[in-house]
Amino acid sequence: MFTQGSKSADESGQTAPSGSGGNGGEPSVISADLKIIGDLHCAGDVQIKGTVEGDIRSRTVTVGEGAQVTGAVYGQAVHVSGSVTGQIEAPTVTVARSAKIQGDVIHDSLAVEAGAHLEGQCRRLDSKAVAEANTAARKLGTTEQAAEPGKRAAGGSGT
Protein backbone atom coordinates (compact mmCIF):
# COMPACT_ATOMS: atom_id res chain seq x y z
CA MET A 1 0.00 0.00 0.00
CA PHE A 2 2.84 2.34 0.82
CA THR A 3 4.65 1.43 -2.38
CA GLN A 4 1.52 2.19 -4.36
CA GLY A 5 1.22 5.51 -2.67
CA SER A 6 4.78 6.48 -3.43
CA LYS A 7 4.39 5.24 -6.99
CA SER A 8 1.46 7.49 -7.67
CA ALA A 9 3.35 10.35 -6.07
CA ASP A 10 6.29 9.68 -8.38
CA GLU A 11 4.07 9.65 -11.44
CA SER A 12 2.43 12.92 -10.67
CA GLY A 13 5.75 14.35 -9.56
CA GLN A 14 7.01 13.71 -13.06
CA THR A 15 4.02 15.28 -14.73
CA ALA A 16 3.76 18.36 -12.58
CA PRO A 17 6.95 20.05 -13.85
CA SER A 18 5.97 19.35 -17.46
CA GLY A 19 2.80 21.32 -16.86
CA SER A 20 4.54 24.23 -15.22
CA GLY A 21 7.41 24.20 -17.66
CA GLY A 22 5.77 26.69 -20.05
CA ASN A 23 4.94 24.47 -23.02
CA GLY A 24 6.02 26.78 -25.83
CA GLY A 25 4.80 25.17 -29.03
CA GLU A 26 3.93 21.83 -27.50
CA PRO A 27 0.76 20.62 -29.18
CA SER A 28 -2.29 19.38 -27.35
CA VAL A 29 -2.92 15.73 -28.14
CA ILE A 30 -6.30 14.08 -28.21
CA SER A 31 -5.39 10.39 -28.06
CA ALA A 32 -6.96 7.58 -30.05
CA ASP A 33 -9.35 6.28 -27.43
CA LEU A 34 -10.56 9.70 -26.34
CA LYS A 35 -13.94 11.00 -27.27
CA ILE A 36 -14.95 14.61 -26.87
CA ILE A 37 -18.48 15.86 -27.24
CA GLY A 38 -18.04 19.61 -27.36
CA ASP A 39 -15.99 22.37 -28.88
CA LEU A 40 -12.25 22.97 -28.79
CA HIS A 41 -10.65 26.41 -28.78
CA CYS A 42 -6.91 26.65 -28.98
CA ALA A 43 -4.36 29.39 -29.58
CA GLY A 44 -1.70 26.83 -30.44
CA ASP A 45 -1.62 23.43 -32.08
CA VAL A 46 -3.96 20.50 -31.70
CA GLN A 47 -3.41 16.91 -32.78
CA ILE A 48 -6.45 14.71 -32.93
CA LYS A 49 -6.26 10.94 -33.03
CA GLY A 50 -9.53 10.27 -31.27
CA THR A 51 -13.11 11.30 -31.80
CA VAL A 52 -14.42 14.83 -31.62
CA GLU A 53 -18.06 15.69 -32.01
CA GLY A 54 -17.98 19.45 -32.15
CA ASP A 55 -16.17 22.37 -33.71
CA ILE A 56 -12.43 22.90 -33.54
CA ARG A 57 -10.80 26.32 -33.68
CA SER A 58 -7.04 26.36 -33.47
CA ARG A 59 -3.91 27.71 -35.11
CA THR A 60 -2.89 24.32 -36.44
CA VAL A 61 -5.16 21.31 -36.50
CA THR A 62 -3.86 17.84 -37.34
CA VAL A 63 -6.51 15.19 -37.79
CA GLY A 64 -4.48 12.00 -37.60
CA GLU A 65 -5.12 8.65 -39.19
CA GLY A 66 -8.03 6.92 -37.53
CA ALA A 67 -9.31 10.15 -36.03
CA GLN A 68 -12.90 11.17 -36.51
CA VAL A 69 -14.14 14.73 -36.43
CA THR A 70 -17.79 15.57 -36.79
CA GLY A 71 -18.03 19.33 -36.95
CA ALA A 72 -16.36 22.32 -38.50
CA VAL A 73 -12.59 22.77 -38.38
CA TYR A 74 -11.13 26.29 -38.48
CA GLY A 75 -7.47 27.11 -38.37
CA GLN A 76 -4.46 28.69 -40.02
CA ALA A 77 -3.30 25.29 -41.20
CA VAL A 78 -5.34 22.10 -41.22
CA HIS A 79 -3.80 18.72 -41.98
CA VAL A 80 -6.19 15.85 -42.49
CA SER A 81 -5.31 12.18 -42.67
CA GLY A 82 -8.36 10.97 -40.79
CA SER A 83 -12.06 11.42 -41.22
CA VAL A 84 -13.75 14.81 -41.13
CA THR A 85 -17.48 15.30 -41.54
CA GLY A 86 -18.01 19.01 -41.72
CA GLN A 87 -16.59 22.16 -43.16
CA ILE A 88 -12.88 22.85 -43.15
CA GLU A 89 -11.80 26.46 -43.33
CA ALA A 90 -8.13 27.41 -43.31
CA PRO A 91 -5.59 29.26 -45.44
CA THR A 92 -3.58 26.06 -45.77
CA VAL A 93 -5.30 22.70 -46.05
CA THR A 94 -3.41 19.45 -46.57
CA VAL A 95 -5.25 16.24 -47.30
CA ALA A 96 -3.36 12.95 -47.05
CA ARG A 97 -4.30 9.83 -48.97
CA SER A 98 -5.85 8.17 -45.92
CA ALA A 99 -8.19 11.13 -45.39
CA LYS A 100 -11.93 11.00 -45.75
CA ILE A 101 -13.63 14.37 -45.91
CA GLN A 102 -17.32 14.96 -46.25
CA GLY A 103 -17.89 18.66 -46.38
CA ASP A 104 -16.67 21.81 -48.01
CA VAL A 105 -13.06 22.84 -47.94
CA ILE A 106 -12.46 26.57 -47.93
CA HIS A 107 -8.81 27.38 -48.46
CA ASP A 108 -6.13 29.58 -49.95
CA SER A 109 -3.76 26.75 -50.61
CA LEU A 110 -4.93 23.17 -50.90
CA ALA A 111 -2.88 20.01 -51.29
CA VAL A 112 -4.60 16.69 -51.88
CA GLU A 113 -2.68 13.45 -52.05
CA ALA A 114 -3.77 10.83 -54.57
CA GLY A 115 -6.23 8.41 -52.99
CA ALA A 116 -7.83 10.90 -50.64
CA HIS A 117 -11.57 10.69 -50.25
CA LEU A 118 -12.97 14.17 -50.71
CA GLU A 119 -16.65 14.83 -51.03
CA GLY A 120 -17.69 18.45 -51.01
CA GLN A 121 -16.99 21.76 -52.60
CA CYS A 122 -13.53 23.26 -52.64
CA ARG A 123 -13.60 27.00 -52.60
CA ARG A 124 -11.06 29.68 -52.05
CA LEU A 125 -11.16 31.88 -48.97
CA ASP A 126 -11.16 35.07 -51.06
CA SER A 127 -14.08 33.82 -53.16
CA LYS A 128 -15.92 33.20 -49.91
CA ALA A 129 -15.11 36.76 -48.84
CA VAL A 130 -16.47 38.03 -52.19
CA ALA A 131 -19.62 35.93 -51.81
CA GLU A 132 -20.13 37.23 -48.30
CA ALA A 133 -19.63 40.79 -49.48
CA ASN A 134 -22.19 40.20 -52.23
CA THR A 135 -24.79 38.80 -49.87
CA ALA A 136 -24.12 41.64 -47.46
CA ALA A 137 -24.56 44.14 -50.31
CA ARG A 138 -27.76 42.40 -51.36
CA LYS A 139 -29.09 42.56 -47.82
CA LEU A 140 -28.19 46.23 -47.66
CA GLY A 141 -29.95 46.79 -50.99
CA THR A 142 -33.13 45.07 -49.83
CA THR A 143 -33.21 47.03 -46.61
CA GLU A 144 -32.75 50.24 -48.55
CA GLN A 145 -35.56 49.24 -50.88
CA ALA A 146 -37.72 48.33 -47.93
CA ALA A 147 -36.99 51.68 -46.34
CA GLU A 148 -37.87 53.67 -49.43
CA PRO A 149 -41.62 52.85 -49.58
CA GLY A 150 -41.82 53.84 -45.95
CA LYS A 151 -40.38 57.23 -46.78
CA ARG A 152 -42.80 57.63 -49.64
CA ALA A 153 -45.68 56.63 -47.44
CA ALA A 154 -44.56 59.13 -44.86
CA GLY A 155 -44.23 61.75 -47.57
CA GLY A 156 -47.68 60.80 -48.91
CA SER A 157 -49.33 61.14 -45.55
CA GLY A 158 -47.69 64.55 -45.17
CA THR A 159 -49.46 66.01 -48.21
Binding site: S8, K35, D39, G64, H79, S81
Partner: protein, 136 residues
Protein backbone atom coordinates in the same frame (compact mmCIF):
# COMPACT_ATOMS: atom_id res chain seq x y z
CA UNK B 1 4.44 19.15 -53.30
CA UNK B 2 2.87 17.71 -50.20
CA UNK B 3 6.18 17.76 -48.41
CA UNK B 4 6.62 21.44 -48.96
CA UNK B 5 3.27 22.33 -47.52
CA UNK B 6 3.68 20.02 -44.55
CA UNK B 7 7.14 21.23 -43.62
CA UNK B 8 5.96 22.28 -40.16
CA UNK B 9 4.05 19.12 -39.38
CA UNK B 10 4.46 15.79 -41.08
CA UNK B 11 0.97 14.36 -41.27
CA UNK B 12 1.94 10.83 -40.40
CA UNK B 13 4.58 11.48 -37.80
CA UNK B 14 3.21 14.50 -36.03
CA UNK B 15 5.17 17.62 -35.18
CA UNK B 16 8.91 17.18 -35.23
CA UNK B 17 8.45 13.51 -36.04
CA UNK B 18 8.06 12.77 -32.36
CA UNK B 19 7.55 9.09 -31.80
CA UNK B 20 5.12 9.71 -28.95
CA UNK B 21 2.46 10.37 -31.57
CA UNK B 22 1.54 6.98 -33.03
CA UNK B 23 2.29 3.91 -30.97
CA UNK B 24 2.54 4.81 -27.30
CA UNK B 25 0.01 4.16 -24.57
CA UNK B 26 -3.02 6.35 -25.12
CA UNK B 27 -2.29 9.64 -23.46
CA UNK B 28 -4.18 12.83 -24.03
CA UNK B 29 -2.52 16.14 -23.29
CA UNK B 30 -4.49 19.34 -23.12
CA UNK B 31 -1.98 22.17 -23.16
CA UNK B 32 -2.56 25.50 -21.48
CA UNK B 33 -3.66 27.18 -24.72
CA UNK B 34 -6.53 24.75 -25.28
CA UNK B 35 -10.05 25.19 -23.95
CA UNK B 36 -12.58 22.43 -24.33
CA UNK B 37 -16.23 23.15 -23.78
CA UNK B 38 -17.75 19.72 -23.51
CA UNK B 39 -17.21 16.27 -22.08
CA UNK B 40 -14.14 14.05 -22.44
CA UNK B 41 -14.03 10.31 -22.08
CA UNK B 42 -11.19 7.84 -22.47
CA UNK B 43 -9.87 4.57 -21.09
CA UNK B 44 -6.40 6.01 -21.01
CA UNK B 45 -4.72 8.92 -19.35
CA UNK B 46 -5.68 12.56 -19.59
CA UNK B 47 -3.38 15.39 -18.64
CA UNK B 48 -5.14 18.72 -18.34
CA UNK B 49 -2.94 21.81 -18.36
CA UNK B 50 -5.55 23.85 -20.17
CA UNK B 51 -9.16 24.43 -19.39
CA UNK B 52 -12.06 22.01 -19.56
CA UNK B 53 -15.57 23.23 -19.02
CA UNK B 54 -17.32 19.90 -18.79
CA UNK B 55 -16.89 16.45 -17.34
CA UNK B 56 -13.69 14.43 -17.61
CA UNK B 57 -13.56 10.66 -17.44
CA UNK B 58 -10.45 8.53 -17.81
CA UNK B 59 -8.42 5.79 -16.19
CA UNK B 60 -6.00 8.35 -14.89
CA UNK B 61 -6.64 12.08 -14.82
CA UNK B 62 -3.97 14.63 -13.99
CA UNK B 63 -4.84 18.27 -13.63
CA UNK B 64 -1.59 20.17 -13.96
CA UNK B 65 -0.61 23.32 -12.15
CA UNK B 66 -2.11 25.49 -14.88
CA UNK B 67 -5.01 23.14 -15.49
CA UNK B 68 -8.60 23.94 -14.73
CA UNK B 69 -11.58 21.61 -14.79
CA UNK B 70 -15.06 22.97 -14.29
CA UNK B 71 -17.12 19.82 -14.04
CA UNK B 72 -16.92 16.39 -12.53
CA UNK B 73 -13.80 14.22 -12.70
CA UNK B 74 -14.34 10.47 -12.86
CA UNK B 75 -11.29 8.22 -12.86
CA UNK B 76 -9.46 5.39 -11.20
CA UNK B 77 -6.66 7.72 -10.25
CA UNK B 78 -6.79 11.50 -10.01
CA UNK B 79 -3.93 13.86 -9.31
CA UNK B 80 -4.72 17.53 -9.01
CA UNK B 81 -2.19 20.36 -8.97
CA UNK B 82 -4.49 22.95 -10.49
CA UNK B 83 -8.07 24.02 -10.12
CA UNK B 84 -11.05 21.68 -10.04
CA UNK B 85 -14.57 22.89 -9.49
CA UNK B 86 -16.97 20.00 -9.25
CA UNK B 87 -17.14 16.55 -7.72
CA UNK B 88 -14.16 14.21 -7.94
CA UNK B 89 -14.70 10.46 -7.95
CA UNK B 90 -11.77 8.09 -7.97
CA UNK B 91 -10.24 5.23 -6.05
CA UNK B 92 -7.01 7.10 -5.59
CA UNK B 93 -7.05 10.84 -5.25
CA UNK B 94 -4.04 13.04 -4.68
CA UNK B 95 -4.21 16.77 -4.10
CA UNK B 96 -0.86 18.38 -4.78
CA UNK B 97 0.44 21.36 -2.84
CA UNK B 98 -0.90 23.82 -5.44
CA UNK B 99 -4.33 22.21 -5.79
CA UNK B 100 -7.51 24.22 -5.42
CA UNK B 101 -10.54 22.00 -5.32
CA UNK B 102 -14.14 22.96 -4.71
CA UNK B 103 -16.47 19.99 -4.52
CA UNK B 104 -16.86 16.66 -2.83
CA UNK B 105 -14.11 14.08 -3.25
CA UNK B 106 -15.38 10.53 -3.34
CA UNK B 107 -12.35 8.36 -2.76
CA UNK B 108 -10.92 5.11 -1.52
CA UNK B 109 -7.44 6.47 -0.92
CA UNK B 110 -6.88 10.16 -0.48
CA UNK B 111 -3.61 12.04 -0.22
CA UNK B 112 -3.63 15.74 0.55
CA UNK B 113 -0.34 17.54 0.43
CA UNK B 114 0.30 20.52 2.67
CA UNK B 115 -0.78 23.66 0.88
CA UNK B 116 -3.66 22.12 -1.00
CA UNK B 117 -6.99 23.92 -0.77
CA UNK B 118 -10.17 21.95 -0.60
CA UNK B 119 -13.71 23.06 0.00
CA UNK B 120 -16.18 20.24 0.28
CA UNK B 121 -16.68 16.86 1.84
CA UNK B 122 -14.43 13.86 1.41
CA UNK B 123 -16.65 10.82 1.54
CA UNK B 124 -14.89 7.45 1.66
CA UNK B 125 -16.21 4.63 -0.52
CA UNK B 126 -15.07 0.98 -0.48
CA UNK B 127 -14.93 0.79 -4.25
CA UNK B 128 -15.63 3.40 -6.85
CA UNK B 129 -16.73 2.32 -10.28
CA UNK B 130 -16.28 4.62 -13.18
CA UNK B 131 -19.49 5.00 -15.10
CA UNK B 132 -19.27 6.21 -18.68
CA UNK B 133 -20.39 9.77 -19.34
CA UNK B 134 -21.66 8.81 -22.76
CA UNK B 135 -21.73 5.78 -25.03
CA UNK B 136 -18.62 5.33 -27.08
Amino acid sequence: MLRNTTAAIDIRRGPGGRDSWPGDAPRTVIQDDLTIIGDLQTDGQIEVDGRVIGNVSGRSVIVGEHGQVEGSILAEMVTIFGIAVGPVQANKVRLGNTAQVVGNIFHNELTVEPGAHHEGRRPWRPNIERKPIFER
